[in-house]
Symmetry: C2
Subunit: 405 residues, 2 copies
DNA sequence: CAGTAGGTCGGAAACTTTCCTACTTGAGGT
DNA sequence: ACCTCAAGTAGGAAAGTTTCCGACCTACTG
């Protein structure tokens, strides 16, 4: 319980150096020993010792030789892909998807199924079934997976186990988490879906080197994934980024600014009959339908307002337009920028389309699961884990037991 | 340019341990050697060695003895107050204040003067004169001060040297920074005044153990100091927290939500003649003046809206009401809470009065200056500085030359 | 007398330097 | 075309240095 001042015996130095070697190998892909020596600044003796240790601990493996230079071939080293497996799950409105990835990010298996609409228990069963299927297809078993991350359309508490405002889940998600935790023998945490999309954007998309950005997820509702200083900002109770209810000149506080429901309502107001789906509306707009275009423009205006509000609070470097409706960036983006220029000219707002058009939530979940699984394996292998915290997404792997330490 | 992987020789371990000892001494005040041993987990041999080094480096001094236990008296150690001096300056609308603090936070000297209204050059001269006066009264000279932090009513860029939107400064602050940097022989950075108030709140006020909070500074304008994860969030270009322009049901984007100007306008609308100052208005309201109370209530409503908007974006643990008008918390707070409960009931918003009623900006500036000066001195003394970054306020001490590395 | 503070010494752990061997390439000579 | 040798590289081992820790010792105070 005592505060940790990070002081210790020589063993600490060994941990630090082992971790440094591991990080270099992770970052520079297959890499030879002399280069590791250069990159870390350590002596080759120390690097050799660390490598021996990491190999016996099974987090690093040899990966062929490098014969580009003259002289004897240098042995190459890489992260052992099998040292940590992650399971990502995306519980969407229509489908549930799952994927198993290895320690280097390779997708070993992926599967999906239709989302049950009525019973939370059915959703839980679908998740565990998908997970089992993925594990089998990946040639492993669930017990070997180090971490599972499940993306849900809900606010997830800091502990990663409690959900609120799960309007998009059967029975409001009641009992869902408990059922999955009971039946899935994998350390598990939940995460808000838009947050995971933001992580995907950071790792695979347009925000690789952007420290502060906000992903605007326009789907059934409007949400934002807030990344500050390279790490996801969840808020005190996980409710950061719930920007769908931001005040707006045309709405009172507490009214949803945007989302499928809101778009449908606007369609009615615009005199469009038959309550078409947002997808249908965008198809019509792309075809030139004036009324549909008006709805799109209104949507863009609201997005611009939300972005401006966010910018005034945290001033991110970049906004990214993502989510289901966000995929229609070709139609929306120009109009959003137009409204920004008109109504919020002095604000330095840059907004770009998502760089992860497909499966953003699933990929983010898989990435996060892989990250936590790796962190755990690396910490075990290097003896202490990284004392200097660079964890991009906080929060360690949740246990299955509710240990409220 | 190469990425730094924090690996190194045994000397690194020495640095780490020296830093750990230093941190314990800093935190636990005068403390004996055996207790340092317990707190750090190091052996007494190592602690003794580290102490010798820190004392010869002049960052630690002996501070009497502890005779509470039986046996020989234990020597006590403390941070050498003189090892780092900081200069804090608050350039306010009416007054300019400055203070010199030592490494343990003791205020050695403080001075103030009326703020020039016309010329930025006069403001700069006033600042340097105040600084010189403070240094002299503190029994030192400007060259001995390790860091100066100047709080300004403006947006300050990440470099700590460029200011924008300095409406509250003579000539919009044009040439101010350059003049001060030319004449003040101290490493210097600027900081937004509300941000400094937030730091004061974190260090001396109500938010000592709160990781995420927002200080709402209600003064001539409305600004927010955003602290996330224990560190100030400045935004990409230093513009985070400019919440005075947040959209609001009654205002268009780009209109100032709140501030002295706005309050005066509301007073006119409420039928109050003579354009009283906000301070006067609050005096009347406290006396029971109905019209003044109406203005106060409208102000509270706007604060509530701004807080709700911020909460939807970042969901801080706590809001603090500060700034000039914020000092009238007794009148405002209840009404703000009322409006929050009515309009933003589902949001978990806690708002409390400031715990730093006096000189918040100045104290924050002094704290930050002291912090940077200390960090510099400690890094020099321990050989490497802290590799594990816990810096609460980012950004090292700016140089006087504009080195855009 | 017992418990505590502080110092010293030898041992253990970890990193670095230096030296050595083995291997591959490429240039130049036969 | 083949051989030889110099240069450059990879890997390993031994000696040396730095740092930390445990144990022992002395001195002091209730």
């Amino acid at each position: 319980m005592g505060a940790d001042y990070l002081a210790g015996p020589q063993g600490l130095l060994r941990s630090i150096n082992a971790r440094a070697v591991l990080d270099v190998i992770d970052r520079e892909g297959p890499i030879g020993r002399p280069e590791i020596t250069r990159a870390t600044g350590l002596s080759k003796t120390t690097v050799a010792q660390a490598l021996r240790e990491l190999i016996t601990r099974k987090v690093v493996t040899e990966a062929g030789t490098d014969t580009t230079r003259r002289g004897p071939a240098a042995t190459l080293y890489q992260i052992d892909p099998g040292c940590a497996l992650g399971l990502g799950v995306d519980i969407g409105h229509l489908r549930i998807r799952a994927a198993v990835v290895d320690a280097v990010g390779e997708v070993l298996a992926q599967a999906e199924t239709r989302a049950p609409r009525r019973q939370a228990a059915a959703t839980a069963a679908a998740v565990t079934a998908l997970a089992a299927e993925c594990a089998e297809r990946a040639g492993t078993e669930l017990g070997a997976i180090g971490q599972a991350v499940i993306g849900v359309p809900a606010v997830v508490g800091r502990d990663g186990h409690t959900i609120r405002r799960a309007y998009g889940l059967p029975q409001g998600g009641k009992g869902l988490v408990e059922a999955i935790e009971r039946d899935l023998p994998v350390p598990l945490i939940l995460e808000n879906d838009v947050n995971l999309a933001a992580i995907a954007e950071q790792r695979f998309g347009a925000c690789a080197d952007v420290g502060d950005f906000v992903l605007l997820g326009v789907g059934v509702g409007l949400g934002a994934g807030v990344v500050l200083g390279g790490r996801l900002h969840r808020g005190f109770a996980g409710g950061a980024g719930e920007v769908g209810f931001l005040p707006h000149p045309a709405t009172e506080l507490g009214t949803e600014v945007l989302g499928a429901r809101r778009i449908a309502e606007q369609a009615r107001e615009a005199g469009i009959g038959g309550t078409p789906s947002p997808r249908e509306l965008f198809v019509r707009a792309r075809a030139g339908d004036e009324k549909a275009l008006a709805v799109v423009d209104a949507t863009a205006r609201r997005i611009a307002h939300v972005a401006a509000s966010i910018a005034l609070v945290i001033e991110p470097e970049l906004f990214v337009l993502g989510g289901g409706v966000g995929a229609s960036a070709d139609l929306l983006l120009g109009r959003v920028r137009h409204h920004l220029a008109r109504d919020a000219a002095p604000l330095p707002i840059t907004i770009i389309p998502s760089g992860v058009p497909e499966d953003a939530v699933l990929r983010g979940a898989a990435w996060l699961a892989r990250h936590h699984a790796r962190e755990h394996a690396f910490a075990a292998a290097t003896g202490a884990g990284r004392p200097y915290d660079t964890d991009p997404a906080g929060q360690p792997r949740g246990s299955r037991k509710g240990d409220t330490t």
